[in-house]
């Protein structure tokens, strides 16, 4: 007995941790879980509010009618012009940013690889993606509004394009880098040049991922407000072409949220519902595209 006592260490595997260590363990777990739950609450609150408030007034009418003048209860009231305006300006933004962004992505992935120039350009594009959208608005105001002496869809679309450009560029680069080198080698081995190799062997394989990036940029641009407020301004009428003030969903929400009129507040919620639906729909479609590609 005495011998074994001395030889065996104090082996009680069932002895619990000391009390302070146990308290620390339970306490931190509880705090972390608590903070996570609280962090999720705003999301649910926002969704709940937008769905409950937004659905109240959602009807075909708001999607096809123009905004009614304040106080005219019996007139159809809606924001069809804002939906159209948002689409127009996102379209302008995409037509500016997609070609430039895709070509820049091609340059970063196919041409310059790990060279210093590529790293510098990539760095500048990353910094561009984090420039506040209001500053991009100021930029579009200075370059287009001041030059044309006109608030316009063109200026708004240009601002959205600058915001989309780095997103398209960086996702295109990522997409192209995922294409195995064997395709590039196979094509080059057949005597194909860079143009042919890039467009026939590389891009077809990266297309779904590039589309995802473009859709991501579109969903981001559709929700932007700050760069539109003083470039495209807003209007109560249908968009009059690229060179006149143009309404958008996001600016309409901003204007109506502050309005003293209740029906305009209600319309802001409905517009928020529509905008969020569009943004999340485009987001989900882009995820679907990627998933299909992975299969």
């Amino acid at each position: 007995m005495e011998l074994s006592d001395r030889e065996l260490p104090d082996l009680d595997l069932q002895q619990p941790l000391s009390l302070p260590r146990r308290l620390f363990e339970y306490g931190t777990t509880a705090i972390a879980l608590g903070l996570t739950v609280v962090a999720l609450l705003p999301l649910f609150a926002i969704f709940w509010q937008i769905v409950s408030q937004g659905l109240q007034h959602l009807s075909l009418e708001v999607l096809v009618a123009l905004p009614a003048p304040v106080g005219m209860e019996d007139q159809p009231n809606g924001f069809a012009n804002a939906i159209l305006g948002t689409m127009m300006m996102v379209g302008v933004g995409a037509s500016v940013s997609v070609p430039f962004g895709v070509m820049t992505g091609i340059f970063l992935s196919e041409f310059a690889g790990g060279t210093a120039i590529a790293n510098g350009i990539r760095f500048a594009v990353k910094i561009l993606s984090s420039v506040p959208s209001i500053v991009v608005g100021v930029f579009a105001y200075a370059t287009i509004v001041l030059a044309t002496k006109q608030f316009s869809a063109l200026a708004g679309g240009f601002a959205l394009g600058v915001i989309m450009l780095p997103i398209v560029t960086l996702t295109t680069e990522e997409a192209l880098k995922l294409v195995p080198d064997t395709y590039r080698l196979a094509s080059a081995g057949l005597g194909e040049g860079r143009f042919s190799t890039t467009f026939r062997a590389v891009i077809p394989n990266a297309l779904p991922a590039i589309v995802t990036g473009v859709l991501l940029a579109v969903s981001r641009a559709a929700g932007e407000t700050a760069p539109l407020i003083f470039t495209a301004l807003s209007s109560q009428n249908w968009p009059q072409g690229l060179l006149s003030p143009t309404p958008s969903l996001s600016v309409l929400i901003f204007n109506y949220a502050d309005s003293p009129y209740r029906e305009q507040n209600a319309l802001a919620w409905t517009a928020a519902f529509v905008l969020l639906a569009i943004v999340l729909l485009v987001n989900t479609i882009s995820r679907q595209v990627t998933r299909k590609h992975l299969k």
């Binding site: 195995p180 080198d181 064997t182 395709y183 590039r184 080698l185 196979a186 094509s187 080059a188 081995g189 057949l190 005597g191 194909e192 040049g193 042919s196 026939r200 062997a201 077809p204 394989n205």
Partner: protein, 283 residues
């Protein structure tokens, strides 16, 4: 039919006209690629040192050696495809029918159409079988009918036609590994190269597919100059006319140890490390 009017595709359909065996007593064949004192660097790292070798026209040259001895790099130096993968520095000369391929004015795309390549793993494009074979031809702007002929002829020469003639519009990715590799050979043949470089073309294949490819190589020898890198010595001894043995030491710089007719390399090599290697004593 006068011989001037025959296209390469007509010739493809003609029966074998060359005797398959080579006589060592014959005068030496003409040289397709002449490599002289080639030093090859990836960036700052030296990969090959002082390689001099003649690749003979219409013969199969096997390049053997342990892994990491630079035999793949050597192959990639012959059509300058290594330049796609990294920054390449070259000293010495590689002459393709007398023209220095590292000359500043060389159009590498043209060079690579003369010197085709088949890679270690089958790498068909994820498009149809037909489009894969037509990939390198399309750019030349031929008519549709002519394209059909070229595709058929290339697939026949790669001994794949009978297996896929019903499925030309199906995706190439549906083929077996061996079929994919023969498709890659057909794709390379379709643009009528003079030389075919093969980088361990059978290493990812099963024995039966390997056998088919070896058979195919023997048929192609009459019309093409073939350089094949292989780690399989039986394969080298079975298919090749000439063998080059590469080796390296701790420096990881590849050197050519011995080059000669395959029979000689495998039976009475001059260098002891070559003998050790072909007898399987190291590597």
């Amino acid at each position: 039919m006068a011989s001037e009017e025959r296209t390469p595709y007509d010739r493809a359909l003609e029966p074998e006209i060359r005797d398959v065996s080579i006589e060592l007593s014959e005068p030496p064949p003409s040289t397709a690629i002449e490599v002289q004192n080639l030093h090859f660097h990836y960036g700052r790292r030296k990969v090959l040192e002082d390689i001099s070798i003649d690749i003979y026209q219409h013969h199969i040259t096997a390049v053997i050696g342990s892994s990491g001895c630079g035999k793949s790099t050597f192959l990639k130096a012959l059509n300058r495809i290594g330049e796609i993968e990294g920054n390449v520095n070259v000293a010495g000369s590689v002459r393709f029918f007398g023209q220095d391929i590292y000359d500043r004015r060389v159009n590498v795309n043209r060079l690579r159409r003369h010197i085709g390549m088949v890679f270690q793993r089958p790498n068909p494009f994820p498009i149809s079988i037909y489009d894969n074979v037509a990939y390198g031809v399309r750019r030349l702007g031929r008519s549709r009918v002519h394209l059909d002929e070229i595709v058929e002829s290339a697939l026949r020469r790669a001994v794949l036609w009978d297996e896929v003639k019903e499925d030309l519009k199906k995706s190439a990715l549906g083929l077996s590994g061996g079929q994919q590799q023969r498709l890659c050979i057909a794709r390379a043949l379709a643009i009528e190269p003079e030389v075919l470089l093969m980088d361990e073309p059978c290493s990812a294949l099963d024995p039966i597919s390997t056998m088919k490819i070896e058979e195919l190589l023997r048929q192609l020898r009459s019309r093409y100059t073939i350089v094949i890198v292989t780690h399989n010595m039986q394969q080298a001894s079975r298919v090749s006319d000439y063998t080059a043995f590469f080796n390296t030491d701790e420096s990881r710089i590849g050197r050519l140890v011995e080059f000669g007719p395959t029979v000689q390399i495998f039976t009475c090599a001059a260098n002891s490390s070559t003998r050790d290697y072909v007898e399987g004593r190291f590597g």
